[in-house]
Amino acid sequence: MTDENTIADAIESTKNSKKVLVLFAHPAQTRSEVNVPLFHEAQLNKHVTAVDLYAEYPDFNIDIEREQQRLIDHDVIIFLFPLYWYSTPSILKEWQDLVLEYGFAYGHEGTALKDKLFLCALSAGGKEEAYQTDGFNHYTIKQLLQPLEQMAQITHMTYIAPFALFGSRTAQEEARVHEHRGKWTTLLNKLTTHTLDLEKAKRVENLADLCNSKGE
């Protein structure tokens, strides 16, 4: 009887849970200290599909059909990447160029992504105070990611604040990776169980501030 219950529970939880697609882009994974652990964490969650874009398309020959189907099959789309020149690594740009076709993602009949949730999860080498209008980088991370915000808007997706880790080059030495990983787990759980406060998530500067580090 417990068996039947667990199966029923499982079916129920799958029905109610949101499906999350993590598109991970890191061109130098042997040297990654933050993103690879987060990617592995995402792989452990059964409601999350974690895709390593550089592994699947090492020659950038992206399978458009397959990527579009993946988008259709999921409710939440996450770009997971280290910030390179204030933007994504090049394969994510390539992915946008190829996959978000006219007539699919935008344009007259392009409504395939309507009402899906979109967010960025990124690590930035600079410190948090550098990403301020009066700081070294002159713009906040939210401002720098505006092209992606507009991409989400024109494809009819809901855009929320990025989940960011600043000072990532020293995060390992300062033992901040573990805490960040916990917050990431919390975020993924909140997304799959649909318990994230979306209004708040749109307003804050960094989603990480909304998640506790215990991985609940």
Partner: protein, 645 residues
């Protein structure tokens, strides 16, 4: 003559029946041989006194085994073992000898006899332990390596023991012996150093070891090359046998251990390109002779002596094994050998060994031990060897499970270790593969049948070996069973196909990457189970075609895209074509359906590439701008802001 055939038949039948059963029951082949011997010897009495003579002959298997062990050890790694060899081995031998000697004195034996017994029981069985470690794949573990160090030290120590034991001779026994007028003196009629003065015999011994070293190092290579060039496989086998028997004879002549000489020769040849071919040739002889040796140990168990004083013999056997295990355990603690390795080390060496028999008969010839003690001790040696497979089973069933949880947590650490790659064929194709792998710190084992090619490759610093990779035994000795990948890049269609078939059959877990000559050959390799097949000309031809387009001033990036499109369609249609090819069972492998599909593929590629070129929405999508005037159709709030010119 018929009598010999009859005996040989009995031995072989016993082995053929008992060993597979023992193996299937998880007892290991050694116990199978021992039981076979027990059945044909003491139980049914099918074989008799000739077992002792056969045993001397079969001990040659131990010589071959040490040669093979030597082949696996390069001089450098042997040198790296030196502290372990002397530390572990010396301590084991010293402590065990001391304890057993003490115990024998406690049992009212005179000192000379006690010391001899101590020395005999300090030795362990190289034959059983190495064979079992190999069979269970434990020889590379910390415990296996430590056990090997001790065994090697013991094998070396046998030489001074043989010199030392005659000094312990008992005067009364000598007197009794000479009145009987039995064959006194040496056990061996051929001995160069016997009549010589100590300094002269020392010189002869050093000279012959030098001869062996220099000969193996400098003369063997031209010899093997000459023989390999003849292309006659059996002559190569004969050469390998000649080498080992020659060494054994030379060592015998100067009174050294043949096993040690063979080991030395093996170490010297470990760097040679002929290593794997040698291994493959000697391996079957070694296996059979060792098996024979184990059978004779089983057959030699004397039930009448056993039934006269069963308690004494059982007690002695248990006592010897407990003392040996205790010493090993203490040494493992001293040398910080941890976890399962500690137990492997303790249990694997807790028996007496075949050199024990040698020393016993030697002690008897030199009037060191009285015959009643010898018959009892022989039984203790034999039974302790008999019980060794049981200790390995204990290790498997009781020790490993206890540590399983502990080790699974540490499994993460070992993920980084990449497996080795066996590359068959190091011609123009294999070389590039090898270079790429080696540059990425992947261990490769390269095999080729052309010895001049191997010579060339070795000169530029690649580890390459002479050997016919299509021969199963060569593949095995090259380590195909332990490798992660097998790359087949040999220059012969048929052999390549046979290799794929054999490799997938013998090593289903090893991934096979095969080079094909053309489409048909590629399909054949795929059908035989190759995991990845590529035609040798495909990628280079595609590159050349791309260069041709670029030379015609077509934009390089468009050329790159066209190449991708070609590859995509090719790989999609390849499956369809393959199935059409496979469905047709006719010999030519090209029927109408296949041809039709092939033509279809050609036109598909053509259409796809053309469509892209002419800005149509083709199968190859990507970087396609939205249609002209699309911005007007966008909803007002999404309308892009018009540029003000």
């Amino acid at each position: 003559m018929t009598g010999y055939f009859l005996y040989a038949f009995i031995y072989l039948v016993a082995a053929v029946i008992a060993v597979p059963i023992a193996k299937r029951l998880g007892l290991g082949s050694v116990l199978g041989y021992l039981i076979a011997g027990l059945v044909i010897g003491p139980i049914f009495g099918l074989v008799g006194d000739e077992t002792v003579a056969i045993q001397h002959f079969a001990e040659f298997g131990v010589v071959m085994m040490l040669f093979l062990v030597g082949l696996e050890l390069e001089p450098r790694s042997l040198w790296a073992m030196k502290s372990k060899l002397i530390g572990l081995g010396g301590l084991q031998l010293g402590l065990t000898t001391a304890l057993i000697t003490g115990a024998a004195i406690g049992l009212n034996q005179p000192f000379g006899i006690s010391l001899t017994i101590g020395l005999i029981f300090a030795l362990s069985s190289t034959a059983i332990v190495l064979q079992t470690l190999q069979e269970k794949g434990l020889q590379k573990t910390e415990g296996g390596k430590s056990a090997f160090s001790v065994l090697l030290f013991q094998d070396i120590a046998v030489i001074p023991m043989l010199a030392f034991i005659p000094l312990l001779a008992i005067p009364e026994l000598i007197a009794a012996g000479s009145t009987q007028g039995g064959d006194t003196g040496s056990h061996d009629n051929f001995n160069l150093v016997e009549g010589l003065a100590p300094w002269a015999s020392g010189l002869v011994i050093i000279g012959s070891v030098a001869l062996l070293t220099v000969g193996a190092h400098y003369l063997s290579r031209p010899l093997f090359k000459y023989v390999a060039a003849s292309g006659l496989r059996e002559i190569f086998t004969a050469t390998a046998l000649m080498l080992i028997i020659g060494i054994a004879a030379l060592m015998g002549l100067v009174g050294l251990s043949p096993a040690l000489g063979a080991f030395l020769a093996g170490v010297i040849l470990a760097n040679s390109e002929f290593r794997h071919e040698l291994e493959a040739n000697i391996e079957p002889f070694k296996g059979l002779l060792l098996g024979l040796f184990f059978i004779t140990v089983g057959a030699g168990i004397n039930f009448s002596v056993l039934s006269e004083n069963p308690m004494l013999i059982a007690g002695l056997t248990v006592a010897v094994m407990v003392v040996k295990a205790f010493v090993l355990f203490v040494i493992a603690l001293i040398f910080k050998i941890k976890g399962t390795n500690k137990w492997l080390f303790t249990l694997s060496l807790a028996q007496a060994g075949e050199f024990g028999f040698v020393l016993l008969s030697f002690a008897s010839q030199n009037y060191v031990l009285p015959s009643d003690i010898i018959s009892v001790l022989s039984l203790v040696v034999a039974i302790s060897m008999f019980l060794t497979p049981g200790l390995f089973i204990l290790f498997d069933k009781a020790i490993i499970p206890r540590y399983k949880n502990a080790t699974s947590q540490r499994a993460d650490d070992e993920i980084d270790e990449k497996g080795t790659v066996v590359i068959a064929g190091i011609g123009r194709f294999g070389q590039i593969i090898n270079r790429l792998l080696v540059a990425n710190d992947v261990n490769t084992v390269v095999l080729d049948i052309r010895s001049e090619q191997i010579d060339l490759i070795r000169r530029i610093g690649t580890k390459a070996y002479f050997g016919d990779a299509s021969k199963p035994d060569i593949l095995h000795t090259a380590g195909a069973h332990e490798s992660a990948l097998l790359v087949i890049a040999i220059d012969d269609r048929e052999t390549a196909a046979e290799m794929v078939k054999y490799a997938k059959h013998a090593y289903p877990n090893v991934k096979v990457l095969a080079r094909a000559f053309d489409r048909g050959h590629g399909y054949r390799l795929r059908q035989l189970g190759a995991d990845y097949v590529v035609s040798e000309t495909y990628h280079s031809a595609l590159e050349m075609g791309a260069e041709a387009l670029r030379s015609l001033n077509i934009h390089p990036f468009l050329v790159e895209r066209q190449k991708m499109a070609y590859k995509n369609i090719e790989s999609q249609q390849n499956d369809v074509l393959y199935h059409a090819w496979a469905d047709d069972a006719s010999g030519e492998r090209v029927d109408n359906n296949y041809l039709k599909l092939f033509i279809e593929l050609e036109s598909l590629i053509e259409n796809a590439l053309k469509a892209d070129l002419h800005d149509k929405h083709s199968r190859m999508r990507g970087w396609t701008p939205p249609p002209k005037g699309y911005a007007d159709k966008l909803a007002p709030d999404e309308k892009p802001v018009e540029k003000t010119n």
